[in-house]
Symmetry: C2
Subunit: 392 residues, 2 copies
Amino acid sequence: MAVSSRIKDVQAASRSLNAFYFQSRYGKRRAAPDICDFTFGNPHEMPLPEIVSAIRTHAVPKDENWFAYKASEAEPRSFLAEHVGRELGLAFEPADIALTSGAFAAIALIFHLTLDQGDEAIFSEPAWFCYEPMLLAAHAVPRKVALAAPSFDLDLSAIDAAIGQKTKLVIVNTPHNPTGRIYTGRMLRDLADLLERASARVGHRIYLLSDEPYRRLRFDGRAFDSPASFYPWTFISYSYGKVLLSPGQRLGYMAISPLMPPEERRAFQQAAFPAQVAIGWSFPNAVMQYAVPDLEKLSIDQAALARRRDRLLPVLRQAGCEPLVPEGTFYLWSRWPDGEPDRHWSALADRDVFVLPGSLMNAEHYFRISLTASDAMVEKALPVFAQADQGG
Amino acid sequence: MAVSSRIKDVQAASRSLNAFYFQSRYGKRRAAPDICDFTFGNPHEMPLPEIVSAIRTHAVPKDENWFAYKASEAEPRSFLAEHVGRELGLAFEPADIALTSGAFAAIALIFHLTLDQGDEAIFSEPAWFCYEPMLLAAHAVPRKVALAAPSFDLDLSAIDAAIGQKTKLVIVNTPHNPTGRIYTGRMLRDLADLLERASARVGHRIYLLSDEPYRRLRFDGRAFDSPASFYPWTFISYSYGKVLLSPGQRLGYMAISPLMPPEERRAFQQAAFPAQVAIGWSFPNAVMQYAVPDLEKLSIDQAALARRRDRLLPVLRQAGCEPLVPEGTFYLWSRWPDGEPDRHWSALADRDVFVLPGSLMNAEHYFRISLTASDAMVEKALPVFAQADQGG
């Protein structure tokens, strides 16, 4: 048939998510105004007015080049090198930063920079939906290991055991979607030691992708450590889509750890621009690049996320669910009560409460709640969640 | 070394262009306000005010989902199916249209939809700079044939001769960058017949990519025929970056020819969304999608392009250049006078007139002038071009 083999593989890897989104009971109801939608990390309240004014302000041209081709522009690069450097305690140069049209583009860039045909990349499940199809589209091989339930910490020995001659990249996502875990500095240091030993063992450098789009969404004043501080061969992907809850505006970046040895660091710095052009000119548009300094200051209401979390947790527990207390992200991950997960999901859906079934993330006994639902949805759904054990 | 082999190939294929842009005499002078810059298709005048107002208007949220994830949204798809359908005389369905962040993303999407590792794609030189690095990034194999100088028509027998068992895609760019040629309906029909015969000969379907970002930029009221009208297995890539001279705002689309047989057409329609997600969520941002109907009506001042062309042509001819009269695009393609092309280029550069050397497009005896230079640049450069034969 007509479609390339790689995209057929991508379609197979995307099938269950797309079926859920487009064809499931959720797909049929998702546009209805009265449902309680806890599925995806999409906004259910009006955007921050400061985002609107940033876009409107920077749409007004100051010179003839205002809408000319923009790659990774000097001003946002310098700005981010300084601000992200201060945030993470890492001495970025502007050339370490590549502006991208969201974290997707940053991840695609890192895959292309580090992986050739048949190279393997390891990630831990449950995981974000798109690592697998993105690796397949890039002709790389996804290798999945399980996170260590019930804490969903990284299973370092499973990662170590999965590393072989073909392994070129390990992906870590912290704060973690869907579990809300933030990995500790100690665990990341152990991971770094593991990758150092494994690189020596396999005879080539294993790189680390630290996918950190939820980095600024943390509960209870928790600290965050970037893997880039522990393992010099780390690339960071970041998106403003989460902290601004505006994923439609496509703004993010890739950052090279400044701890990387100089020769390799220069090589990746120099490769980033031609690579990003060649994968589809995946730079943010001009207006969004001008807006970086304004947007960098903003965040959605994190107190609201905590409030919703704290409303839901006791109700879920009472209903026999086993929720994990999220440390970061805007998700709440929970085990279903005993019984059949599908029937639990359907019983909620019968009452127009929609959650993300863990089966979409290879964790069928779990579900994910997105705390980006409105307070009104939370209040309306509480009595439904209170009977979550009566559906299975 | 660290960087993947494919990106090293991309770097090698991008080297001369990047050296010109960043390190050449042009690279050192390009930001200077007093130069006459005829190199790239970038704006040298203020943007159309209607672009600014479209962005500012559509940045104002009308609902909670205003900046939510946007894929190929229903409204711009329907709008484009109708409007592009009327323009090209083709009955597009909304599902034939995939909104992309510029033509780069449309081209990357088409490459991924049709090409697997080692598959060959044929294009004609001189050509746009990025087909080759984009094919290499996608693990495909570029096969180049020459256009038929001095008319720079497609060399159909050269294309036919280049087609083999590995050929999956042929790329045609009309109106053509850099030559300004618009291929006639007769020639495109002959190409379609050729591809039909060749597909039968090699035993699989050869697809056609019709790269048409300059489609609305035509001189002297000339007609345009899309290859999608002649060859059913055609994908169109389009960008608003040319007709609006705002390439920094990243808006374009991929369109499947509605003449494609239903089963294949459906297969590509269904594959486009997961493919586009997997290559890096390469949809235009939310604001740009809302702006499509407003932007669709606009164009830069095409009379100004014709005026600049007509000022330059006689002067170039008198100086011993052999310009091709452009039929479309905003470029003017010319042969240098006798002598050494490098010395001709340098003599212009000595007087702060910068053109694109044809050597960057594997055509060292030629150069390209972008008519996006301002009228003032044209007037200032005319006496310099008048002595173009005195530099070699």
